[in-house]
């Protein structure tokens, strides 16, 4: 039995602000059904004051995931977006009187959904993306953010601090941030997403596939009123199902190969096989 606090139980049993705001001003979605937890946060924002006037959530997950989402909505209602953006996962856990170590990711999910919603409101790419403090300025001399550094590492396969400075200027000034850039590099290359697909755990595989679906595939399918979701991964074999207008569509079998499989092969691994669940 987990050693949950009374506060966790209380929020789990009586979750606040459950639901979805119709036509919300901001939406943040993180996680997925196959990952085992997911959170959809919708916000109503007063445009004049930039304040969050209403927040609602829907969560799939364990008691601590539901409690984290619930307490998060309580914490952010009434805050300006700038204030809300400063909330950390530790503050969410603290508001619940703490979470067991293995459940801390539930509080991270809350923070990520909030960040995604704020990014959505501010017009920074679709709401379904995971932001983790990426907008933080790392190199103060040149005002280079973590997001810019990460993108450079990814696109150019950078391996050293010197290379990062070459590509982004970051660390090329006073040099105080070099240790931090070193850490960003280390974390990036230790990150599951950058591993070979075949070497990933099932959960890691699901995460990279879900990311491609959200960023590349579903935006296309949604134009035709449908979408696709991941059902299962076994080895290199990926099972999907079409939903909405795509389910039962005569050309969905072709789409599966020419769009879905093509995107996964190009972005993840050329050996991936996609089939209908």
């Amino acid at each position: 039995m987990w050693n949950y606090t009374d506060k966790v139980y209380e929020h789990f049993k009586n979750p606040r602000n459950v639901g979805e705001i119709p036509n919300p001003d901001a939406t943040g979605e993180v996680g997925s059904l196959s990952c085992g937890d997911a959170l959809k946060l919708t916000l109503r924002i007063d445009k004049a004051t930039d304040r969050i006037v209403e927040a609602k959530f829907k969560t799939f997950g364990c008691a601590s995931a539901i409690a984290s989402s619930s307490v998060l909505t309580e914490m952010i209602i009434g805050l300006t977006l700038d204030e809300a953006a400063k909330i950390t996962n530790q503050q969410i856990a603290d508001a619940l009187g703490g979470l067991p170590g293995k459940k801390m990711h539930c509080s991270v999910m809350g923070m990520e959904a909030l960040e995604a919603a704020i990014a959505d409101y501010r017009g920074e790419k679709g709401g379904k993306r995971v932001v983790s403090g990426a907008e933080r300025v790392v190199c103060k001399c040149f005002g280079v953010t973590e997001a810019v550094i990460l993108k450079a590492i990814k696109v150019n396969g950078l391996k050293t601090v010197e290379q990062v400075a070459d590509f982004t200027k970051a660390g090329g000034g006073c040099g105080q941030c070099k240790g931090e850039i070193e850490k960003i590099l280390k974390d990036y290359w230790a990150n599951a997403e950058n591993k070979k697909f075949a070497d990933m755990t099932v959960v890691e595989k699901i995460k990279v596939i879900e990311k491609i679906l959200a960023e590349k595939v579903n935006p296309l399918l949604k134009r035709d009123g449908g979408w696709i979701e991941l059902v299962d991964v076994q080895g290199m074999n990926v099972k999907m199902r079409f939903l909405g207008m795509c389910s039962g569509c005569a050309s969905s079998a072709v789409t599966l190969k020419t769009v879905v499989e093509k995107e996964l092969r190009e972005n993840i691994d050329p050996a991936i096989e996609v089939e209908n669940a």
Partner: protein, 400 residues
């Protein structure tokens, strides 16, 4: 304050000690407390109680008393059996088991790989069934042991261990089965099988925790796991746990008497629970429904909601159950058993195991059936996936 009724549906985790068992054990704490090895009348007076217990366990399993070794638990029995088989045949370096074994076997298998052994884990189909052709093909001249559970703890699916033991035996390979979930729930008659070793755990059949059995067929090569004493004929050192051995003996006697009830009354209740839940709650899937299952076990998945949340809501209602969800174990991956059955991640997270005993009543079953729909409804109302998407069998493939 009124004592809350415990609706106990977690008998595959542990079971209530039968009152008859507790009563039988009682005198061995403060009256008959001697060490049976001691050279005095007091120690000597205990031998008959150990003999009776050993006979009762042998009777439950269709074995001879000298084939029964008392251990501390099912896990010790499993470790003892596997290491004994390998140490007795130092030239053989291949071990066969299944993908769905209890961690008591799978963790040993993982360690063996680190020690240079080759391990084959036989797969199961979507219903949790084995294909014995896979076993036939896996056996080589290098195979030392096959270890295959009699019944699965999560789904209750029963493996054809008697046939598997015959196959192993015909190829000169030792056969062990973890019968922790099977013993006391389905009839076992070892004298009619080629099974060499079998593990039993006391607390799954209404004896206390901390007592187990390893059956070793007469003539099977054996190397002890615990050494440092002559007890159990030199096969398991350590002072005999007399009260618990006596308790397990009584529990075995009761289990033999109740095996009929397990397969009539308990099975009916389980079937009632299964039919009731699947009728009352949309979007469910019963795991292993197409396979032969233990009469007491129901493993059921609820789509779009997560197992730990369900368990805690059940717990609020006084209902005790288990889950194969990732969240209850603290790992990120759901149950290895459901994964091996290729239950998609999309609903493996929402699995609940309800396991009954002869002490469950029809009223308790009906209470669970009554309380469940509201719990699922509440969690689905919170879930971002539950609306606007088809549930199992309701609208799948339908064109909007």
């Amino acid at each position: 304050m009124e004592k809350q009724h415990i609706y106990y549906f977690d008998n595959n985790a542990t079971s209530r000690v039968a009152e008859e068992v507790a009563r039988e054990m009682e005198p061995f704490f403060h009256d008959l407390y001697a060490n049976p090895s001691s050279m005095h009348f007091f120690g000597g007076s205990l031998q008959i109680y150990l003999d009776t217990a050993r006979q009762r366990v042998a009777d439950l399993l269709g074995a001879r008393p000298e084939e029964i070794i008392f251990t501390s638990c099912g896990t010790e029995s499993d470790s003892t059996a596997i290491y004994s088989a390998l140490r007795s045949q130092p030239g053989k370096k291949h071990f066969i088991t299944t993908q769905v074994e209890h961690p008591a076997v799978l963790t040993v298998a993982k360690n063996l790989e680190k020690q240079g052994y080759r391990v084959t884990r036989l797969p199961v189909d979507a219903e949790g069934r084995l294909n014995l052709d896979d076993l036939k093909q896996a056996i080589t001249a290098d195979t030392a042991l096959v270890s295959m559970m009699w019944a699965n703890n999560e789904t209750g699916v029963v493996f054809p261990v008697e046939e598997a033991a015959r196959i192993a035996h015909s190829r000169g390979v030792l056969f062990h089965t973890d019968a922790v979930q099977a013993a006391g729930k389905i009839p076992i008659n070892l004298s009619e099988t080629r099974i060499d070793m079998l593990s039993v755990s006391g607390h799954k059949l209404h004896a206390p925790k901390g007592i187990g059995v390893l059956y070793v067929r007469k003539g099977t090569p054996f190397t002890p796991f615990l050494i440092g004493g002559h007890q159990e004929d030199g096969r398991r050192a350590g002072t005999e746990n007399v009260p618990y051995i006596v308790g397990l003996g009584k529990a075995a006697e009761l289990a033999r008497k109740h095996i009929e009830l397990e397969n009539t009354q308990v099975r009916e209740l389980r079937d009632r629970l299964e039919a009731g839940l699947t009728a009352a709650v949309p979007g469910t899937k019963v795991n292993g429904r197409g396979a032969e299952r233990l009469p007491n076990t129901l493993s059921i998945c609820f789509e779009y909601i997560e197992g730990e949340s369900i368990l805690l809501m059940l717990s609020e209602k006084g209902i005790c159950a288990s889950s194969g969800s990732a969240c209850t174990s603290g790992s990120l991956e759901p149950s290895h058993v459901l994964r091996a059955m290729k239950v998609p991640q999309t609903y493996a997270h929402g699995s609940i195991r309800l396991s009954l005993s002869i002490y469950n009543t029809r009223e308790e079953v009906d209470y669970v059936i009554k309380e469940f729909p509201a719990i699922v409804e509440k969690l689905r109302a919170i879930s971002p996936f539950a609306d606007g998407k088809p549930l199992f069998g309701a609208g799948d493939g339908h064109h909007h």
